[in-house]
C-alpha cells in the first residue's frame, strides 16, 4: 500500500511538472505581445513592462517560478488586470467556480439517482421512455444549447429567474442545472442500468420472498449495489465540475475562473495563465489521486 501511494504521488507530481512546462513553452511560442494594443507605446515602455513582468528572463527561469510561489506564497502581478495579483484573481474567482460546481454535482447526483430508480421501476412504461429520451438529450446537447433553452424559458418567457450574475441564490439555479445536465443524465443511466442488473439477482428474489415491501427492497438491498458505478463516476465528475466551465460562466455572466482563464489566454497574460493552469492541474490530479487511493483502500487487489 505504501509503495503504491508513493508511486502514485510521484506520478502526479510528474504530471504537474509536465503540464507546467508545456504551458509556458506554448505561451512563449504563441504569437503576440501582451503590451502592444491598438496603439503602440514607445519601445522603452514595452521594455520596462517586459522587465517588470519578467518576460525578458531566459526560458529556464520559469522553472524557478513555482518554487517562488511555494516559498513566498506569491504568484506575482497579472498583466491585464494590473491592480490585481494572480493570487487575488484566483482567490476571487475560484470560490465561485467551485461552489457552482458543488451545487451542480449535488443536483446531478441526487436527481440522477432518483430519476434512475424511477426509470428502473417503470421499465418499459412512459416514465422510463421519457427519461431515456431525456437523458439522451442531456448527454448529447452541449451546455450552451441547454443554457440558452433554460434562459429562454425561465428568464425571457416566464421571467421567473434572473438571466445571470452572481450573488443572489436565484441567480445560481439556472447555471447549476445547465452545468449539471450532462452529468445528471449520465448518472440516471448508470443507476437505471445498475438497478436492472440487480433486479434478477437471487438476493433480491429472497428479499421479496421474505415479504419485504418493494420500496424497502429497492432502497435497502438493490440501491447499494446498483450505485457502485455511480460512485466510481463521482471522482472524474467532481474534478470536471469543480474546476468550472467557461461556457456556462460566459452565458450566465458568472465571474468565475473559466472566464478569467480564457480572457488571460487571449490577452497573453502569461502569469495569470500559468497560475490558473496550475490550479486546474493540481485540482484534477488531486481528485484523481483521491479516487485511486479510495479504490485501493476499498479493493485489496490493488496495491
Amino acid at each position: 500500500m505504501m509503495r503504491f501511494l508513493i508511486s502514485r504521488i510521484g506520478q502526479s507530481l510528474l504530471v504537474i511538472f509536465v503540464v507546467y512546462t508545456c504551458t509556458f513553452w506554448l505561451l512563449m511560442a504563441a504569437p503576440g505581445n501582451p503590451f502592444i494594443g491598438e496603439k503602440q507605446p514607445p519601445p522603452a515602455i514595452i521594455h520596462a513592462l517586459k522587465v517588470r513582468y519578467g518576460l525578458n528572463n531566459p526560458w529556464h527561469a520559469y522553472w524557478a517560478y513555482p518554487w517562488r510561489v511555494i516559498t513566498h506564497g506569491d504568484m506575482g502581478p497579472t498583466i491585464s488586470y494590473a491592480n490585481w495579483t494572480v493570487l487575488d484573481v484566483i482567490r476571487s474567482s475560484l470560490p465561485i467556480s467551485v461552489s457552482l460546481g458543488a451545487l451542480a454535482l449535488l443536483i446531478a447526483l441526487w436527481l440522477g439517482v432518483a430519476l434512475g430508480i424511477l426509470g428502473a421501476v417503470t421499465r418499459g412504461h412512459w416514465p422510463d421512455l421519457t427519461l431515456t429520451v431525456g437523458s439522451l438529450l442531456g448527454i448529447s446537447l452541449p451546455s450552451f444549447v441547454i443554457g440558452s433553452i433554460l434562459l429562454l424559458v425561465f428568464s425571457t418567457y416566464w421571467a421567473l429567474l434572473p438571466s445571470g450574475g452572481w450573488g443572489d441564490l436565484a441567480q445560481v439555479i439556472l447555471p447549476a442545472f445547465t452545468l449539471a445536465a450532462g452529468f445528471l443524465a449520465y448518472i440516471a443511466r448508470l443507476t437505471r442500468s445498475g438497478m436492472l442488473d440487480e433486479f434478477s439477482a437471487d438476493y433480491v428474489r429472497t428479499a421479496r420472498a421474505k415479504g419485504l415491501p418493494p420500496n424497502r427492497v429497492i432502497v435497502r438491498h438493490i440501491l447499494p449495489n446498483a450505485s457502485l458505478p455511480v460512485l466510481s463516476f463521482l471522482g472524474p465528475a467532481a474534478a470536471a465540475l469543480l474546476t468550472g466551465s467557461f461556457v456556462v460562466e460566459k452565458i450566465f455572466a458568472i465571474p468565475g475562473m473559466g472566464e478569467d482563464f480564457v480572457n488571460a489566454c487571449l490577452d497573453k497574460d502569461i502569469p495569470l495563465v500559468l497560475g490558473i493552469v496550475m490550479v486546474y492541474t493540481v485540482m484534477l490530479v488531486g481528485f484523481n489521486l483521491l479516487v485511486d487511493i479510495a479504490y485501493a483502500y476499498a479493493d485489496p487487489r490493488i496495491s
Binding site: S92, S163, L223, A253
Partner: protein, 561 residues
C-alpha cells in the same frame, strides 16, 4: 455505502455554501445606477489607462487641470479655475482652485501634479500614453535619458513643468499645441495623491519609486474627482459614491453608481432587458441593426446612437512590392463601393468616408475631397501599373482581427469587389487581436484592417499616424513632402494657417499617395431609458461623463416596461 454518499453530499453542500458565502456580492441595489461597460476595468492607475472603460472610470474619479464640457466636450476649468496662455502659445500658467480637495480632505496642490507627471515620464512606470507629454519642453529628452542605461540622467528641472507656488503651475511647450487644454482633462495628466501612495512604495531609486498597484483599491485609493471608489469586487462590480470634498459636489446628483461588465454582450443585453442593468455603454453589435430598425419603427426609444470621432479604414504596407506602387493603391480605393458596404454588409448606415479625419467633426477644419468610386479609372491605373485585369499580380495578404465578426464580413465583401473589378486576388488572414497587433507592427501584411478613434479634437490625432518614424505608422508610409507639411503645422502659431497646412497634408494622403483607404465613420451608442436616466448621452467622442448621470424618475419594481 449510503454513508459514503451522505458524507460526500454534505461535503458538497458545505463547499457550495462556503464558496457562495465567500464570493457572493450583496445583490441589493437600492438607488444605485448600474452602468454596464463592454470590458472589465484593466487598471485604475491613471498612468496605465488606455482602455475606454478605464478612462471613463478615471474621468469619474479624478479631475485634471481642465475637464470636458458635458455638451461640447471643449475643455473648461477643472482643478484649475483659470489659466493664461502666452502670446505664442508656448507657456501655460494654470491657477489652481483653493477649494479643490482630495477625497480624504487634503488640498489639491501643484505638488500633486508634479509628482504624477514626473512619475508618468519615467519609463519604468510603463505609461502607454507617455508621448502626450512630449509636447512639454525637455520632456522627451528627459524620458529618453532615463530609458537609455548609458545616457547621463537629466534633472527633472530640465523639463518645462514648474510650480511657482502651491496653486500656480507653469508649463512650457516645445511648439504651440492648440489642443493642449484638451489633453489636460485626459487621465495621463491627472494629479496623484502622493501621501496616500507612500506606504505602497515597493522600491525607491534615484528618480523612481514603484508603487504596489494595491494603492488603487479601496479603501486605499484617494481621488479628487466627483466620486470616490468605495468597493471594488474583482470581476463583479465597482461602487462609486460622491466625493464629499469635491469642489463642485452640488453638480453630482447620483448618490451611488455601480459599474459592472459582462464579457458576453448577449448576457449584458439580457441583463439590461430584465432591468438588472440601467445603462449599457454600448449597443450589442449582434442586434444593432435590428434595434435601430425597431427604434425607427417607434417600437423602442432607448437606443442612443450616432456617428462618432472614429474612422474604419484599411492600411496598405507601402514598402512591399507591388503595393509600393501608388497606382495600384489608388486603383484599390477607386474600386470599392463604400456605400454598398455600409448599406448591405454592416447595415448600420454609417457615413462612407473618402478621407481619414471624419468631416465636420473639427470646427474650422475643411476636409479634402478624396477619391470617389470609379472602376474604369481603377482598371486604367492597373493597366498603367503593368497588371491589366490583375494579370501577373501575386495574391495579396489581407490581415484582419477577429474582435468583431463584422471585420471579416467587410473584408470578404471588399476583396470580392477587388477581385471582380480589378482581378486582384486576396488571401484573408484572420488573427486573434494580440497576434494581429504584432503582425501590424511588424508590417507582416499587404493590406490590413485598421480603426482609429481620435484622442483629442485635432486632425493630427490621425495625420500623425503617417509621419515617418511614428511607432503607430503601420503602413510604413514615408514621404518628405508630407513630413514637411506636418512639421510646418507643428510650429505654426496661427490656428487657421495651421489647419490649412494640415488640410494640405491630408490631401496628400487621400488624394495622392493612399497609404490608407478610408471606408466609413464609426457609429457608436448607449442604451438607456431617457425617461429614467439623465445627465448622459452619446457624444462625438463617446466620452461618457459619469459625474452628471442621475435618476430622473424610477418606475416601481425596477424593470423596464
Amino acid at each position: 455505502m449510503r454513508r459514503v454518499l451522505i458524507i460526500f453530499s454534505l461535503l458538497l453542500m458545505l463547499i457550495f455554501v462556503g464558496g457562495f458565502w465567500i464570493s457572493g456580492g450583496d445583490a441589493a441595489r437600492s438607488r444605485a445606477i448600474i452602468f454596464c461597460q463592454a470590458g472589465q476595468i484593466h487598471t485604475l492607475d491613471p498612468a496605465g489607462m488606455t482602455w475606454m472603460q478605464d478612462i471613463r472610470a478615471g474621468l469619474a474619479l479624478w479631475q485634471g487641470l481642465t475637464q470636458y464640457d458635458p455638451k461640447t466636450l471643449n475643455p473648461i476649468p477643472g482643478v484649475a479655475k483659470s489659466w493664461a496662455i502666452s502670446d505664442h502659445g508656448l507657456t501655460y500658467t494654470f491657477h489652481l482652485r483653493r477649494h479643490a480637495r482630495w477625497s480624504n480632505g487634503a488640498p489639491v496642490t501643484t505638488a500633486n501634479f508634479i509628482f504624477a507627471w514626473k512619475r508618468m515620464l519615467h519609463p519604468a512606470t510603463g505609461a502607454g500614453y507617455v508621448e502626450m507629454f512630449f509636447h512639454i519642453s525637455g520632456a522627451r529628452a528627459y524620458f529618453n535619458a532615463l530609458a537609455n542605461p548609458h545616457a547621463i540622467p537629466r534633472p527633472f528641472s530640465s523639463v518645462g513643468i514648474k510650480a511657482s507656488d502651491r496653486h500656480t503651475l507653469i508649463v512650457h511647450l516645445n511648439a504651440p499645441c492648440p489642443y493642449f487644454l484638451d489633453l489636460m482633462a485626459f487621465p495621463p495628466f491627472f494629479p496623484l495623491n502622493q501621501a496616500s501612495m507612500a506606504r505602497f512604495t515597493v522600491r525607491s531609486g534615484h528618480s523612481f519609486a514603484y508603487y504596489n498597484p494595491r494603492f488603487t483599491r479601496p479603501p486605499n485609493l484617494v481621488t479628487n474627482g466627483a466620486y470616490r471608489l468605495t468597493t471594488w469586487k474583482f470581476h463583479q462590480y465597482l461602487e462609486f459614491k460622491p466625493n464629499p470634498y469635491y469642489w463642485d459636489r452640488k453638480a453630482v446628483r447620483c448618490r451611488e453608481l455601480r459599474i459592472v461588465s459582462f464579457s458576453d454582450s448577449l448576457a449584458a443585453f439580457r441583463a439590461y432587458q430584465s432591468g438588472a442593468v440601467d445603462v449599457l455603454s454600448f449597443v450589442p453589435p449582434e442586434f444593432t441593426a435590428a434595434l435601430l430598425r425597431q427604434q425607427r419603427a417607434g417600437l423602442r426609444h432607448d437606443v442612443h446612437y450616432r456617428s462618432v470621432f472614429g474612422t474604419y479604414y484599411y492600411i496598405i504596407n507601402c514598402t512591399r512590392a507591388p503595393l509600393n506602387n501608388v497606382l495600384i493603391r489608388r486603383a484599390l480605393d477607386l474600386a470599392i463601393n463604400k456605400r454598398q458596404i455600409v448599406d448591405d454588409v454592416t447595415r448600420l448606415h454609417e457615413k462612407p468616408l473618402r478621407v481619414l479625419v471624419p468631416p465636420g467633426t473639427i470646427p474650422g477644419y475643411h476636409s479634402p475631397h478624396g477619391l470617389a468610386m470609379n472602376v474604369t479609372e481603377a482598371r486604367k491605373l492597373m493597366r498603367q501599373a503593368g497588371y491589366p485585369d490583375g494579370r501577373g499580380l501575386r495574391p495579396l495578404k489581407f490581415l484582419t482581427n477577429d474582435t468583431d465578426s463584422m471585420n471579416t464580413l467587410v473584408a470578404q465583401a471588399i476583396t470580392q469587389m477587388w477581385q471582380r473589378n480589378l482581378g486582384v486576388r486576396i488571401r484573408i488572414a484572420t488573427e486573434e487581436s494580440k497576434a494581429f497587433n504584432q503582425d501590424s507592427v511588424h508590417g507582416n501584411f499587404d493590406i490590413a484592417r485598421a480603426g482609429w478613434y481620435g484622442d483629442y479634437m485635432d486632425p493630427t490625432t490621425w495625420l500623425d499616424l503617417f509621419r515617418t518614424g511614428n511607432p503607430n505608422n503601420h503602413s510604413q508610409f514615408s514621404n518628405s513632402q508630407f513630413d514637411e507639411l506636418m512639421h510646418q503645422a507643428d510650429i505654426e502659431p496661427n490656428p487657421a494657417r495651421r489647419f490649412a497646412l494640415l488640410e494640405a497634408a491630408e490631401r496628400l494622403l487621400v488624394d495622392r499617395y493612399m497609404p490608407a483607404i478610408p471606408l466609413f465613420q464609426y457609429t457608436d451608442g448607449l442604451m438607456y431609458h431617457s425617461r429614467e436616466i439623465g445627465g448622459i448621452g452619446p457624444n462625438v467622442r463617446m466620452i461618457t461623463l459619469l459625474q452628471y448621470i442621475h435618476w430622473k424618475h424610477r418606475p416601481r419594481g425596477g424593470t423596464h416596461p
